[in-house]
């Protein structure tokens, strides 16, 4: 029993309470408290990572108490390698996001007052913004740390509420539409999953004491029909969350309308719950169904890769563009999860981390640009590199990471996914590879249109990045480069967990000779 995970989860919640209860006007203090809280979480998480033994038990730092005996629910937490790196991703992203959003709320208030006649009521609360971000951190850590399905579900749904308020209260012009769309898409998926969760519980109650414990649930004997239905319940929820084509339509709206900090956490972390759910729940709980449905999921993923990239290319709005690139990236991750090879699986998990870093950085740079230029449209910018070279350079690096340039972290994960998939689904891997070329196009075109060319007079006085903004981006860029050259520390943590998952789904890595052997025969 180790209380460390609970501690990491509770710290942000306490920080949020403190921030929320500070008296009015103490906005700076609120920000400092929030940042300090998130740094404490970061330090605690690093300690956790150091103490994690990749060769040890599957779940470490476990803790389990009875929560609701009537339903057989436990408060049970613990992390395997996959969950641990995602918790670490959260711990890194939250302080970065807080730093990047330092003055966003005030800026929002100014924008609001310019074109309207009700200035007083327009003021947005700084404290609520930072408190919401911290509450969100608790929920996100909880969802990855839960080893009880019920607890997971509670966080999975409860997580929506802070994000809903972040988008709805602090977002762009179409924020209420985007917030409701986000909430409803997620809830529909979540409620279908609830039916499946209950179904799974009832099955477990038929074979012994009813339980939601993950490890006990993986031992269940489920008929094929039951597996198929329950798999679909979980899969649709996760596919909406991830988002996988064709469940992605909420993401461009939510991503574009969310405030920068919210967008980073939404796309960087919240969406990972979907792909994490594939690996943690869909595969081990319903191995037969997972194998049966895998070809279809791979097909959807490949469509997502190409379709997301094509739509990204056609976007006029920078934030929508980044959102669509994420649809493409999630196609890769989905493909990696369902290829059932260790390489692809490891690649997918690594991709989740790297996508968080690179897309997070991209959203932040674009957020900085939009704060300056007051427009989200590509056509409103040109030649920015002349006045803001640092901004342009960091945009470029983040963009290159997003298009998976060798030497930057995303490359390794994309490569692993493609190689791992190639062994089993050759055609899919080949088609998906064209996604890389498309990625180069949409990133470089966007860069060229906004940063290169003649500088318009309107932007002549545009300021380059401030020290704070560079400081916010620096850790992400550093990690991208570091993991691009030396991903071993992360892959070492991920690998054993992925291997266990692959065993549970009953997939063996194909030997080099029987490349085309389909998954279903290898059980």
């Amino acid at each position: 029993m180790s209380p460390s995970l609970t501690l990491i989860g509770v710290v942000p919640l306490v920080g949020a309470l403190v921030v929320a209860l500070l008296p009015q006007g103490k906005d700076v203090l609120a920000k400092q408290v929030a940042l300090a809280t998130s740094l404490v979480v970061l330090v605690l998480t690093l300690v956790l990572c150091v103490n994690f033994d990749p060769q040890g038990d599957r779940f470490q730092f476990v803790q389990s108490y009875d929560w609701i005996r009537a339903f057989g629910v436990h408060y049970a937490v613990g992390v395997d390698g996959i969950a641990l790196v995602l918790v670490a991703l959260i711990a890194v992203l939250v302080p970065v996001v807080l730093l990047a959003s330092w003055d966003d709320v005030e800026a929002l208030t100014e924008v609001g007052t310019e074109g309207s006649d009700a200035p007083a009521a327009k003021r947005k609360s700084v404290r609520s913004f930072f408190a919401l971000l911290l509450v969100l951190e608790t929920m996100m850590i909880g969802v990855f740390a839960a080893t009880d399905l019920f607890l997971f579900y509670v966080f999975f749904e409860a997580m929506l509420i802070p994000m809903y308020f972040l988008i709805g209260s602090y977002g762009g012009p179409r924020r209420s539409y985007a917030a409701v769309k986000f909430l409803l898409y997620s809830l529909v998926g979540g409620l279908l999953m609830l039916a499946a969760v209950i179904g799974l519980y009832v099955q477990s109650a038929k074979q012994g004491p009813g339980t939601f414990s993950f490890e006990a649930l993986t031992q269940l004997n489920l008929s094929h029909t039951t597996q198929a239905w329950l798999f679909l319940g979980f899969f649709i929820a996760f596919a909406i969350k991830a988002p996988l084509f064709p469940f992605h339509t909420w993401l461009p709206d939510a991503g574009a309308e969310a405030p920068t900090g919210g967008a980073v956490l939404l796309v960087g972390v919240l969406d990972k719950v979907g792909t994490f759910g594939f690996l943690r729940y869909c595969l081990p709980l319903f191995p037969w169904a997972a194998r049966e449905f895998a070809p279809y999921v791979i097909a959807l993923s490949v469509i997502g890769v190409i379709y997301g990239a094509l739509l990204a290319m056609g976007q006029k709005d920078l934030k929508r563009l980044v959102s669509y690139t994420s649809v493409a990236h999630f196609g890769f991750i989905g493909m990696g999860c369902f290829a059932f090879t260790t390489q692809a699986g490891t690649g997918a998990v690594l991709y989740m981390v790297n996508h968080g870093l690179s897309t997070g950085a991209l959203f932040m740079v674009i957020g900085f640009l939009i704060n300056r230029g007051r427009s989200r449209f590509i056509s409103d910018y040109s030649g920015i590199a002349k006045v803001a070279p640092t901004l342009a350079a960091l945009f470029f690096v983040s963009g290159l990471s997003s298009l998976a340039l060798p030497g930057l972290s995303t490359f390794i994960s994309e490569f692993l996914v493609l190689v791992g998939t190639f062994e089993r689904y050759t055609v899919a891997a080949v088609v998906a590879t064209t996604g890389i070329i498309l990625a180069a196009l949409y990133i470089l075109l966007a860069y060229q249109r906004t940063m290169q060319g003649a500088l318009s007079s309107a932007h002549a006085a545009l300021k380059d990045l401030s020290g704070r903004e560079v400081a916010a981006l620096a850790p992400l860029i550093a990690l991208m480069i570091l993991l691009g050259f030396y991903p071993k520390p992360v892959t070492d943590i991920i690998n054993p967990a992925v291997k266990v998952t692959m065993q549970e789904v009953g997939a063996q890595d194909p030997a080099p000779t029987d490349v085309a052997k389909p998954a279903a025969e290898s059980k």
């Binding site: 009537a70 509670v154 749904e157 709805g168 209260s169 409620l191 039916a195 209950i198 179904g199």
Partner: protein, 514 residues
């Protein structure tokens, strides 16, 4: 010997909760007659609240004793479900009484009008609306209704159940017409509720008659015995069950017997609406559970398909029609219809966890609902309550606390985790899946998603939209309303995080005596 009629032997102790409430109601009538006008209101509140607290104490005493028994010649069953629901009703009843006592919200004091019989819009009526003249008959009326509600789920005899139904309904018909503002709506509500309610009661009574013809008795235990014997006329049984069902489903507000709900919820004074939405539902579901679990426990194949259809219709119609509403009270009315559907899912499970889940759902729903209507009563403009949804725009900016509380309650109604609403929904859906009603659960979760849409829409209005210039103000309530809201919210949160004690209680209570 024709004259030799023996007096029935009655054990009075198990009837204590019911007797106390009826006693307090009668005392209220005496207070009305003999206490001077300026002391009447306080005396009424004290009598009513003390009566309910004493009744709650009696319930706890009986529950601690733990023996289920049939009393009054087995006309009444004082068992786990009856006591659980009676306890729930006492607590919710106290909340309703406190809401009725609120004086600070309306500028002329009091939420009910003193002479409801005046024609709406007439000169006397307008004069009365502005006068601070207050009548207090509403307290004994509410107490009689609550007494009937306490009796209703304990009835083991269909004829007594009919009496309880009338005792709880008649005061409610009256109270629906007592709104101080918007008199016409209120009177319409009262008339509509009365006419449709009387109609439903007639169905109920006819069902009882048919079942008497079938079983030769109106006792639920005898009916149960009769259903397991061969050679009875099944036609009488089917018709009887159906007619009885109409009467009960009308009271819980299930489709297709829901038509009264939105009009009555909208027109009644808001505290009365809270009483109807929370307490009537609890009592009526208690009776419904007893009739179907005890009386027709072995003939479930005859009535289960009917309840399936009603549950599906109720969830779907309630959820979809709620989306189109523009009035907060009407929206909450349709939401209560959808919730009736969810509770029916628990009823249809026909197992122990279905029963305990339903009991738990009723308790949590009652608390959340009372607090919601209490909040609705706070948002006012010059014409009284500002119930049009458009008027709620930007409320989160004007009064973040009230809007935040309402948002929390709405999320609970939507069944978001970490609120009691989620735990309750989970309990009934789990029970139904165990009972083999998986398809019903799937309809339930989809309907839940639809309900989430209109709850979220209100949150959008309150928090994400700018306030209108001449928007309503949030009145600062007195302790009466504040306490009710605080308790409702506290239960909503606590039962969402640590539901175990109450679930245990519901689990222990979930055995009917036959």
């Amino acid at each position: 010997m024709p004259t030799d009629i023996q007096a029935p032997s009655i054990a009075y102790l198990p009837l204590l909760p019911i007797l106390i409430v009826f006693g307090a109601a009668t005392l209220g009538v005496l207070v009305e007659a003999f206490v001077p006008a300026h002391q009447r209101r306080l005396s009424q509140v004290v009598v009513a609240v003390a009566g309910l607290v004493a009744s709650l104490g009696a319930v706890i005493y009986l529950a601690a004793d733990g023996t289920s028994r049939l009393v009054a010649e087995s006309a009444l069953a004082i068992d786990g479900p009856a006591l659980f629901l009676q306890g729930t009703l006492c607590v919710l009843g106290i909340g309703s009484i406190l809401l009725l006592s609120e004086r600070r919200l309306d500028r002329s004091g009091g939420v009910v009008v003193s002479q409801a019989a005046n024609a709406p819009g007439s000169r006397e009526d307008l004069r009365l609306a502005e006068s601070s003249h207050v009548q207090t008959e509403v307290y004994p009326l509410a107490m009689f209704a609550l007494g009937g509600m306490l009796l209703f789920p304990a009835c083991n005899n269909l004829l007594l159940m009919f009496v309880a139904l009338e005792v709880l309904s008649l005061p409610l018909y009256l109270m629906a017409g007592l709104a101080r503002r918007r008199r016409l709506l209120s009177q319409e509500a009262a008339l509509k509720y009365f006419l449709l309610g009387a109609f439903a009661s007639a169905f109920f009574l006819y069902g009882v008659a048919l079942l008497y013809g079938y079983a030769g008795s109106v006792d639920l235990g005898d009916i149960l015995t009769a259903t397991s014997q061969a050679g009875k006329s099944d036609g009488l049984l089917y018709l009887g069950v159906a007619m009885l069902g109409v009467g009960l489903l009308f009271k819980v507000g299930a489709v297709p017997f829901q038509a009264w709900t939105p009009d009555v919820y909208q027109g009644s004074p808001t505290p009365v609406t809270a009483l109807m939405a929370a307490c009537t539902k609890v009592a009526a579901f208690g009776a419904l559970l007893r009739v179907f679990y005890v009386g027709f426990g072995t003939s479930q194949w005859d009535w289960r398909p009917m309840l399936w259809a009603v549950a599906i219709l109720t969830m779907v119609v309630g959820a979809i029609l709620a989306v189109t509403q523009t009035d907060v009270k009407r929206m909450l009315a349709y939401s209560s219809i959808a919730h009736t559907g969810f509770i029916l899912v628990g009823v249809i499970a026909i197992n122990k966890s279905g029963l305990s889940g339903t009991l738990f759902y009723l308790l949590t729903y009652g608390f959340t609902t009372i607090a919601s209507f209490a909040v609705v009563g706070l948002v006012r403009d010059s014409a009284g309550e500002a119930t049009h949804l458009a008027q709620w725009a930007g409320l989160g900016k004007r009064s973040p606390l009230v809007a935040g509380v309402f948002a929390l309650l709405l999320f609970a109604l939507a069944g978001i985790p970490l609120t009691s609403g989620f735990m309750a929904k989970f309990a009934v859906f789990k029970a139904a899946t165990e009972g083999g009603a998986t398809a019903l659960v799937v309809v339930g979760v989809i309907a839940s998603a639809v309900t989430a849409f209109f709850y979220a829409r209100v949150v959008v209005l309150m928090f994400f939209q700018e306030p209108t210039v001449d928007g309503p103000t949030v009145a600062v309530p007195s302790a009466y309303t504040a306490v009710t809201i605080a308790v409702g919210v506290a239960f909503t949160v606590i039962l969402g995080i640590v539901p175990q004690p109450v679930l245990d209680l519901a689990g222990k209570a979930a055995t009917f005596i036959r």
